[in-house]
């Protein structure tokens, strides 16, 4: 049994991620169930200020899953990072005892924590995506962007290579997109600064976006809700102040897969893109149901 740990971001600014993810999995024949009574993993803030909270908040969710003898599927890179790190740290018996006391639930046994990309790149899904495509993405030049957290977990064997991951490239090509190779796929976008230090965050996004533009990307695809929000917000922000060249829409990998599998705006929420995705996606839409609902 595997339960889905959505995390807080996926119910607000990353809603398009969870909506498209649920739809894509359903389309591939898998029903997704949310982890009951899940709570925030404390991402970025807990570990920044308090070591005990940094472990206790994710551990509470691990305990729930363990009680149900369930594995976890995680989409958000930050949640994934915290849950994995905590599980690894709890290997230390002293820490495990301390955290168990804080969580007030038994922490034992092992469970697997899997990233959505890890599950989707399992051979059967890759094949099914390829076979069940209903809509062409040909001509769409896609750069995959992982950001920093998805693959960088110290001392944990990850699902992909640390410095040069390729799972999204495999998925995007299975979906029929034209995959670009570019150098900045694991550069940090500075999302944790987008509230407290806008200027710095904008500079970091700009570097990444410029490189994507120079490499000829039509679209950036990511699996991290913070990266999606930050890179999208950065382009929206610039467009408020100056006329800029057309935005490079940043969409979730599940939205891209959904496009190939025939999803429309209702299923994929493509119109939730802040910087706008019409100029890239509407040409695809000639033969299909409304891809984007103009708001």
């Amino acid at each position: 049994m595997t339960h889905f740990y959505p995390g807080c971001t996926l119910s607000s600014s990353g809603k398009a991620y969870s909506r498209s993810l649920y739809w894509v999995f359903q389309r591939l024949g898998r029903q997704i169930e949310e982890l009951p009574d899940w709570s925030c993993c404390g991402a970025t803030s807990a570990h920044a200020l308090d070591r005990d909270l940094a472990y206790a908040l994710p551990a509470r969710n691990l305990a729930i899953a363990q009680e149900m003898r369930s594995d976890l599927m995680v989409a958000c890179s930050a949640c994934y990072h915290r849950l994995k790190t905590t599980q690894q740290a709890l290997g230390n018996p002293e820490l495990q005892k301390r955290v168990q006391q804080l969580v007030d639930r038994p922490l034992h046994g092992s469970l697997q924590i899997k990233n959505v990309l890890e599950i989707l790149t399992e051979e059967s899904y890759l094949e099914r995506i390829h076979q069940e495509r209903t809509h062409e993405l040909a001509g769409l030049k896609v750069a995959c962007y992982y950001g920093c957290l998805a693959t960088r977990i110290p001392r944990v064997a990850g699902f992909d290579r640390v410095e040069n991951p390729t799972s999204m490239e495999r998925l995007a090509s299975a979906a029929g997109a034209n995959v670009l190779h570019w150098p900045y796929k694991t550069e940090c976008c500075g999302a944790s600064l987008s509230v407290t230090n806008e200027a710095l965050s904008l500079t970091m996004c700009d570097r990444i976006l410029q490189m994507a533009r120079r490499c000829g990307a039509d679209l950036l695809v990511t699996s991290c809700p913070f990266c999606q929000y930050n890179l999208d917000w950065a382009q929206w922000k610039v467009s408020q102040e100056e006329a800029q060249t057309k935005a490079i829409p940043v969409i979730f990998i599940t939205q891209l897969l959904g496009l190939a599998l025939g999803g429309g705006d209702k299923e994929l929420m493509l119109s939730s893109n802040l910087a706008g995705a019409e100029h890239v996606l509407c040409p695809l839409a000639r033969t299909r149901q409304p891809l984007l609902v103009q708001k």
Binding site: C8, P154, G190, W233
Partner: protein
């Protein structure tokens, strides 16, 4: 050779002889708190080379580690390095001595706050506190609540209104994504253990 030069080039006016006579208490404190072996660092500079924030840091990560080894507690805790660290973990996965550097940054930040040092980035500390307050009360974070509280705290209630409006219009804000109960008991137990 390299290491010698890096140490000599420390931007801080640490007298090396002075520190050599200094104590090991501080490195022990940091190692105990983080569980990481900072004494292993041999100044290869890999962490600083890949750090996206290095240009904003008074001491790059390797320099900070050298100061920890030398026992310069005040110099370390008053620095801005761990405030500018954005936890991208680039350094941690590249360190040839398997030191989780990003985790050490968290530890040093915690020690600095505990010892009463003023944060180099007050907004960052405040943001994290407000964030954790939301988790305590509701168990989950509503971005709407988080932003509203942060803006109020900064006494700029009308900041980012157009962003908020755009997010709302595009269906990217949720009004009530909370659990019914917060995590008050868990937070209390954490505080009691401190």
């Amino acid at each position: 050779m390299e290491a010698e030069e890096t140490v000599a080039a420390l931007p801080h006016n640490v007298q090396r002889d002075e520190c050599a006579a200094g104590s090991f208490d501080f490195i022990k404190e940091v190692e105990d708190h983080s569980g990481e072996r900072i004494s292993r660092c041999f100044q290869c500079d890999k962490c600083a080379t890949g750090c996206p924030m290095a240009e904003h840091m008074v001491y790059t990560p390797n320099e900070l580690f050298r100061l920890i080894q030398l026992g310069d507690q005040a110099g370390v805790l008053a620095s801005n390095t761990f405030w500018y660290c954005i936890s991208c973990y680039t350094c941690s996965v590249r360190c040839p001595n398997d030191i989780d550097i990003a985790h050490v940054m968290d530890s040093v930040r915690e020690l600095a706050l505990r010892a009463g040092y003023a944060p180099a980035l007050t907004q960052a500390r405040d943001f994290h506190r407000i964030f954790l307050g939301c988790v305590r009360r509701f168990g989950r974070v509503s971005e709407l609540e988080l932003m509203a509280r942060y803006n109020l705290h900064r006494k700029r209630p009308f900041q980012r209104l157009s962003l908020g409006w755009t997010l709302l219009r595009k269906g990217r804000l949720e009004f009530w994504p909370f659990r019914r109960r917060g995590l008050r008991e868990l937070f209390k137990r954490v505080e009691e253990l401190r």
